[in-house]
Symmetry: C2
Subunit: 527 residues, 2 copies
Amino acid sequence: MIKYTNMDELKAFNALKALKDEVVLKDVMAGEKGAERVEKYKVSMSGGLLFSYAAKQVDDKVIDTLQAFADEAMLTDKYAALYNGEIVNTGERRRVLHQLTRGQLGEDVVIDGVNKREFYVSQQNRIKEFADKVHNGEIVNEKGEKFTTAVQIGIGGSDLGPRAMYIALENWAKKNGCFKMEAKFISNVDPDDAAGVLKGIDVAHSIFILVSKSGTTLETLTNESFVKDALKKQELDPSKHMIAVTSATSPLAGNSDYLDAFFMDDFIGGRYSSTSSVGGAILSLAFGPDIFARFLNGAAEEDKLSKNTDIRKNPAMLDALIGVYERNVLDMATTAVLPYSQALSRFPAHLQQLDMESNGKSVNREGKPVSYKTGPVIFGEPGTNGQHSFYQLLHQGTDIIPLQFIGFKDSQLETDVNIEDSTSQQKLKANVVAQIVAFALGMDNDNPNKYFEGNRPSSIILGDKLTPEALGAILAHFENKVMFQGFAWNLNSFDQEGVQLGKVLAKKVLSGNTFGALKAYSYLLGI
Amino acid sequence: MIKYTNMDELKAFNALKALKDEVVLKDVMAGEKGAERVEKYKVSMSGGLLFSYAAKQVDDKVIDTLQAFADEAMLTDKYAALYNGEIVNTGERRRVLHQLTRGQLGEDVVIDGVNKREFYVSQQNRIKEFADKVHNGEIVNEKGEKFTTAVQIGIGGSDLGPRAMYIALENWAKKNGCFKMEAKFISNVDPDDAAGVLKGIDVAHSIFILVSKSGTTLETLTNESFVKDALKKQELDPSKHMIAVTSATSPLAGNSDYLDAFFMDDFIGGRYSSTSSVGGAILSLAFGPDIFARFLNGAAEEDKLSKNTDIRKNPAMLDALIGVYERNVLDMATTAVLPYSQALSRFPAHLQQLDMESNGKSVNREGKPVSYKTGPVIFGEPGTNGQHSFYQLLHQGTDIIPLQFIGFKDSQLETDVNIEDSTSQQKLKANVVAQIVAFALGMDNDNPNKYFEGNRPSSIILGDKLTPEALGAILAHFENKVMFQGFAWNLNSFDQEGVQLGKVLAKKVLSGNTFGALKAYSYLLGI
């Protein structure tokens, strides 16, 4: 029987609080002890990746206590409850089944006679067939010409995840001969977004993917109209240029306005939908269904690792609880995500949604206020760019920001130059290594401007190359990290009631039926 | 005589601390009182903009105390000292003259016989001549064909600011018939960045702008080699395709490897260089010199407003001190920048550098540790996209994040659709209005999942349209805000010693002469 308990009622959390000053990185990472830590504090991930946490403020005692925390909070049991189809989205009374889009982890989940794993696979197969037909010229535009561009119309999880994944694999696909079509994305209700994208593409050879689970997302429907207008202006039939990704019960399903429709359902949250049809349609069109399948495999393997009750063999759970230690014991309010890979340039933006929308909550899963801090602010940009931007504050600012690095041995395109006896890729890697150590050890200096206090914790996910498998593993790692943190904080990580009030008030403003501050601001903005 | 004092020694700061619970937004913004606040708490900016701070936790008493703070800390005197050429960059013993790139605010600043204002104008004029010749076909490629693309090679301030400004005006320029050339940017030492950009452009018709003040930035020189290789592979002469933006004393100046070189100097910090030749070359090539001049005018007018000793008439100083109140009295650690304009999609990334690199410091301008918090973490994405991402945490998370909105009455491209009785632009504006009020007032609800506590402060910069003048005003507003906050915290906001240690260690890693953690991580990453 699983027990759901607020974190401050856990014995292990109180034991953890007693370990506040346990590890001083400046000491333990210095000299050969540092090398021993790097060797010791690492764990394998799927996709050939490694999670290295030597530069976190942990030692065996802290990790043993995190293990006790994981056991007492029954974290892997709660994970099993989730993938076996219990209603863990307590607010909306829904199951949470995104792991089933990429593999079967436990029992069959059958709802209203439908095996959900089979349902998600069937959609993936339908997308495969459709994408193959687009690629081989069976599905073409009105003039019988091949489509060259796929444009996703969606917002939030229908945009950020798929966009980040596309950018992550675009160059890899070009290098490896599996780049099929260019992808573009329209998301913002700002009319300059759609108009700007449409200016830059060949509309007559573009296929548009309308993505909305409910089929009622106002921004997305507005942008659909925008696109339909553009098609009609070129005397093109929108229904020959559009597909829908939606739920089977939405107004977009079985609708002759679309060439075809592919489905997800209520058990796939927007921010967890990159491995469902939401990511599947655009990524299969861009890179081919086989590449999308490899991406899913990477995620599925990582999901399996997350079942491990031994925290030292469960990178997502370990990462999650180190994060809880930093947030609730060491009192750190933000986390920076720093990929040393230009291909991951929009991955931090996806993580912002994934993490902040899941765990930015003040009430527990039963709706009772919690008395501890929950999800941190997430931000980040790729290195080395960030080094020439906000790293000053990370090194010498008055707050300590935990850092999440990501790095790879090899670049994706494998084009490089040798300057001053090293390649660009070697310089890139040397920089991430240097940063980890600089943050941990700091540097004494008689000039206080050049003094670095050190003791600034970081971890790194590293691998050979950013392949589809590696990307799937990284995505699933963070999804599962966020899930485990939500369990630790006793939250419902799967609803987002905090976005509703703005929607309601925006409608009021548009109706003109306002007074007070709403009316005064409306006047200032000329609404 | 200007006195430089740590903030905690100011009488006014201690008075401010006593006002911690002065304003409850939920009360003061409700009903018609809210409308009165919106009417009262606003101040004009240049470029036709308005800074509205009604939804900040201030009242007349707080603002009077901020005025006393500004007076006691002599903020406008320090600003005058800066633009009159005193050595305010105390660490590097340098003047700080970026305001002179766009106007003359005080006395002539003459150094080694050179009037610096005249020097910056002369460089702007040289860029104008050059850009005009590129546009009218006097400067062409080796085959006598016009250049169609300009590619900036730079990192940090040579990338983030100019890139954000280019994206901000790209659609406006297209709409207004002054779009001359497409611009691209190569920044990261990750070889996939340069390789990816080069794959997407017509190299034979591209002009490359190498930007490095010292002429020794390793990332930038590496990317220059990358580009030269690409040119040579097409049997093109790099010296016919490249210009340099650098200091007059750098190895890039007077160098026959470049078609021409344009200069800034040591008194223009990278993150403050968008209005110097660093932004001037790329923006003049992309949009024409006249548009760049209009952008400078917007900034210059805003700089003048920052001279006002009356805080109620000085938007940058007001914004700055409200930020200090939030950071040091209300204990808020981060700030979100939320432009309701897709054109400003990369403006938050620029502000990250501007703010966090300037004020992410733990020692004062004399190198003594300060005992209060300094620069916050800055992050942000455009609305309405952010609403479908991290706004959940902003509304219902356990930390309060002050918000900086930006919005405009009209879109740039003026293409729009009407859905459900409103245009996209109206929906966009209705959303920002709704968010301001939702954050301030919150909403009661018996369902604790749907309860919004409110009391979450925000301000908004608003205007008619994002024009070159408006963009200049917004840029200068934030530059001056950061400057005033640096003065308030008694910091040197103009050096960045925190980025040096990483550079030193990276060189060590590349030399292979390492031990301990550096060596162990190098092994893991295959260096």
